[in-house]
Symmetry: C2
Subunit: 144 residues, 2 copies
DNA sequence: AATGTAAATAAGAATATTATTATTTAGCAA
DNA sequence: TTGCTAAATAATAATATTCTTATTTACATT
């Protein structure tokens, strides 16, 4: 999701573009790895941005709600990544080492979204996680 | 998932059947609504069962991990329900009133599970949530 | 540019959830 | 039955996340 798309989506939904929100978006747009709320907060502090941790949490939640971010629930906490509209995917998560692998979710999702729509819902976002054990952890690889 | 299936699955995975665990299962098997960890704990205390909240959390997490429970992440916290193997479903959640509606997930899941398997994962459980706004909340029904 | 207003923030309090460690227990095997 | 051992529990302590309220800010409109 591009910077322009994010800004448009926020404005459309009636949300303001505060300094803090802008800075959070900047982090998300320029970081490739998945980030936790705490990590976003730390990165912002490194950049001398004054922002409360609570605000980071609140905004990440908001961005999930409007479908801009995808949330991944790990044992160690939640992490976030920008939604890639051209490449919708689900996550497979290793319960031991927390490795995350993406798998395409196109058709699977399509069907579900339609059913949700039929139930009278206006869909905002979605989240699909599959939990398992990766081959490394199944074989007790210590370096996994 | 039946009592027998639960017990078998625990034993198969090498887990013990403690008094506390047994009582948690009892609650899950005899309650139809979805429960939070706190609610399970309260219900147990009503039954004079001595158990720490921590143990409830730990066991619910374990039961999710072995695929006996399905976890639903609401804004107000996580709730749990027994997996219905003959009726696999996903959840559609209203971001305003937290109403939860089930939709069948068979084919959608099938495809994803295969992809996860192909990635080398041994699959333990899964979780699919679709977030949106129900018709009531879209129309600002106060009683929604 | 000044103003009104809904939305957003900060600060700190409150909850929810998870980790640590010493002690206890289930279930197997002698 | 008794003893053994891995697993489980309880009791904190520590984190993660959310809520409350007073104050500040974006931005639409004058």
């Amino acid at each position: 999701m591009s910077r322009q798309q994010l800004l448009t989506r926020l404005k459309t939904k009636g949300y303001k573009l505060t300094q803090q929100r802008q800075q959070i978006l900047e982090i998300l747009l320029t970081t490739t790895s998945r980030l936790s709320a705490l990590e976003v907060h730390r990165l912002l502090q490194k950049r001398q941005v004054k922002i409360s941790l609570d605000t980071v949490y609140r905004n990440l939640r908001l961005l999930v709600e409007i479908g801009a971010l995808q949330q991944i629930s790990l044992q160690s906490g939640a992490v976030y990544e920008l939604v890639q509209q051209d490449q919708l995917h689900s996550h497979v998560i290793c319960v031991d080492c927390e490795k995350v692998v993406c798998i395409p979710a196109g058709p699977a999702l399509q069907n579900s979204m339609e059913l949700a729509g039929a139930a009278g819902f206006t869909i905002l976002s979605h989240n699909m996680e599959i939990y398992g054990r990766c081959s490394g952890c199944s074989n007790n690889n210590s370096d996994c």
